[in-house]
């Protein structure tokens, strides 16, 4: 059996911390052995979910990072089957030169495909293309009785839907068959525009949803009064050959290696405070020209993964870590819900660099998936004594306006609140009971939310 290492594990938010027994199989045979010989197991990809989804102090934690082999690729159709531990970065390195791209990508390319499916992640294009699982043809799942089953919309469809967004609690995802999308260039045509307030941002995101494949708004969450919700909207579409400059067009699918920077150690906790964040947000806002839209042709790394060039950016929030709070409101209540969230945040002065507003489109197949038609807002908060009760308060606002919270970012939601927020919990639990009656697959998050 593969070696075991006891180590302190956290998610990307570095909160909470858990002492775990970890294993790192490199062969499928090691993985099946690990799963069958341990009491309970927890799957972990790159550890890029923010909270406690991929850790557990009372189970065997299985790291998938070395199960990252491509199983098949069809150059005609762009269908790629790859092991769950493959990162999006590896896929991009492989597929972009051949003119293919990920159908959906979150804001980092360091996460794994298994994690992307388990969290049913979304990207800037949710309003047109849906979430990650929408582009997955099938998965291979190792079940509690140690069988390897294939799940798709045709075969074991109930398990497929329970696993998409099921946070790894229905079984170990071994491989994912993903539909890539064709691209002409590795560049994006980006239009950006300064917006004066929340209503304005939402209006632009809604108005442009048919013309733009990607859209996202950065929000200054410390601005108050008439400036509440001011920010910058970014709209993007995959660039065609004719959009490029002669220099870019010479090698349209080739990008020079990006420059990386690293935050070498945890910054002191006081570094990010009200004054410094306010100054940063103001500067960031005012740096963008007022009025007209600004057009730029930028490469996909700059557009999709701006934070990936700053390694260990999570260290900025100090040793105690941070929590990202992401919620979604349905279309009808979005305006009211978002306004109240921003007002609470602004009033509490608990702001962050990262306030991100996105438009969501139609519901997908994932039973516990996060997205629903409407608007979603993500905010970062450094962990302090005051922050957890404050987030409980935000939960109430989310529930009041019929919204819900994203589990991939979550570290503190209660089981009752989650049940009240998500309509499909009972239905999901029925399938969980059927495929994994003894809760062989678990996680700190699963236990906290009463899912495993």
């Amino acid at each position: 059996m593969p070696g075991c290492k006891k180590e302190k594990i956290t998610g990307w938010g570095r909160f909470p911390v858990s002492l775990c027994e970890t294993y790192r199989p490199e062969k499928i045979s090691d993985l099946t052995e690990l799963s069958s010989q341990n009491g309970a197991v927890t799957a972990r990809g790159s550890g890029r979910s923010y909270g406690d989804a991929a850790l557990c102090s009372e189970s065997a934690l299985i790291k998938f990072e070395r199960l990252n082999r491509f199983r098949s690729f069809d150059v005609e159709t762009g269908i790629l089957t790859t092991e769950a531990g493959t990162t999006l970065q590896e896929i991009l390195q492989f597929c972009v030169p051949g003119g293919w791209f990920l159908p959906v990508t979150p804001g980092t390319r360091y996460c794994t495909v298994g994690g992307c499916f388990a969290c049913d992640v979304h990207g800037k294009n949710h309003h047109t293309d849906g979430s990650f699982s929408h582009h997955v043809h099938q998965i291979e799942l190792l079940t509690a009785d140690n069988n390897l089953i294939t799940c798709s919309r045709e075969e074991n469809s109930d398990i497929f839907c329970a696993t998409a967004g099921g946070m790894g609690l229905t079984g170990l995802i071994l491989s994912v068959t993903l539909q890539l999308v064709p691209i002409e260039t590795a560049f994006i045509v980006q239009h950006s525009q300064r917006v004066s307030g929340l209503d304005h941002s939402m209006e632009i995101l809604k108005k442009t949803e048919n013309e733009n494949n990607c859209s996202v708004a950065w929000i200054d969450c410390l601005a108050k009064g008439k400036d509440l919700g001011r920010g910058i909207v970014y709209l993007g579409n995959s660039a065609k050959r004719m959009d490029l400059s002669p220099g870019q067009a010479r090698n349209p699918l080739f990008l020079p290696r990006p420059k990386y920077y690293t935050i070498p150690f945890s910054c002191p906790g006081w570094l990010l405070n009200r004054a410094s964040i306010r100054a940063f947000n103001s500067l960031y806002y005012k740096r963008h020209p007022e009025g007209e839209q600004v057009k730029k042709i930028i490469d996909y790394n700059k557009f999709y993964y701006p934070l990936d060039t700053l390694h260990h950016w999570n260290r900025m929030y100090g040793r105690k870590g941070f929590v990202q709070y992401q919620c979604v409101f349905p279309d009808e209540t979005s305006k009211d819900g978002l306004r109240e969230i921003l007002e609470c945040t602004s009033a509490a002065g608990a702001g962050s660099f990262l306030g991100v507003l996105k438009r969501f489109g139609a519901l997908g197949d994932g039973m516990l998936s996060f997205p629903m038609p409407g608007f979603t807002l993500a905010l970062d908060f450094a962990v302090t004594k005051k922050i957890l009760p404050f987030l409980d308060q935000l939960d109430k606002v989310v529930m009041k306006w019929g919204g819900r919270v994203y589990l991939a970012k979550d570290a503190r939601l209660s089981a009752e609140t989650f049940r009240a927020m998500h309509p499909n919990v009972e239905e999901w639990l029925a399938i969980k009971k059927q495929v994994d009656p003894n809760n062989h697959f678990t996680s700190a998050l699963g236990r906290r939310l009463g899912l495993s």
């Binding site: 070696g3 290492k5 790192r24 062969k27 082999r69 199983r71 492989f94």
Partner: protein
């Protein structure tokens, strides 16, 4: 026609990283290993990523007498085999080997006897071609016997001497022999072992090994600083060394 390389112990962590590097350099590969399914998965992956020819075969390092024939057939399978890599290794359990000889014998057989069987046949095949590079993964543990792993260390130390002799013999046949002595590498074999420090990634180690091939080095420590760590360890007088807990 592509150059070819054969890797014994291809499914080990370093073997995997080496295959990836060699494939990226355009070598066709013959992967020999213990786990049939894993070999096939690797072969598909290497073909998709690098568009090279890959052949796989299963072998059992615990049956050394069958190995020369296996090696002979395998090398004959590749059109132009110019590199042979030996990535076999098994740490074994030192404490068990101190009281149960079968346990010690397994460690010695896997790390030395099997290697000697593979090296003999590879050497003869390369002599016939009058060219080729043989790369064998030994260990810094073979440089000095320590109470915590001297059975493994003795087998690797034996391998070091075997390789020295082989290098001497093959030099006049235009066949080059490289002894690689890895320090602490982050592999499946070492995952979770206590007392590890300055652990290197298999990918970085594989890069150093490819560089050693290109520069026709004889003995290389990977990462390089282990040369100096081991020099310091070898310089400790035996009278003092025997009293240390290492």
């Amino acid at each position: 026609m592509n150059k070819g390389a054969i890797i014994f112990g291809a499914t080990s962590s370093i073997g995997k990283a080496l295959c990836d590097q060699l494939a990226a350099e355009g070598y066709d590969l013959f992967l020999a290993g213990r786990d049939r399914d894993d070999l096939d998965i690797m072969a598909t992956d290497l073909f998709i990523r690098h568009n090279i020819k890959v052949v796989t075969a299963k072998f059992d390092a615990d049956k050394p007498q069958e190995l020369p024939k296996f090696v002979h057939n395998s090398i004959a399978h590749l059109e132009d085999c110019s590199i042979a890599m030996l990535c076999l290794g098994s740490l074994g359990k030192q404490e068990d080997g101190e009281t149960r000889f079968e346990e010690a014998a397994v460690t010695i057989n896997r790390n030395f006897t099997a290697a000697a069987a593979i090296l003999m046949e590879t050497a003869n095949a390369f002599i016939e071609k009058k060219s080729g590079t043989i790369v064998a993964l030994s260990s810094v543990a073979g440089d000095r016997g320590r109470q915590s792993n001297y059975i493994y260390g003795a087998a690797k130390g034996g391998l070091n001497v075997y390789l020295q002799g082989l290098r001497n013999r093959l030099a006049s046949h235009n066949v080059h022999v490289i002894t690689v002595k890895p320090g602490f590498i982050d592999t499946a074999m070492t995952y979770g072992l206590p007392g590890m420090f300055m652990v290197a990634e298999p990918r970085a180690v594989a890069k150093s090994i490819i560089e050693a091939i290109n520069r026709r080095r004889n003995i290389v420590y990977v990462p390089w600083f282990w040369k100096w760590i081991m020099l310091a360890i070898k310089l400790i007088p035996e009278g003092l060394f025997k009293k240390l807990r290492l």
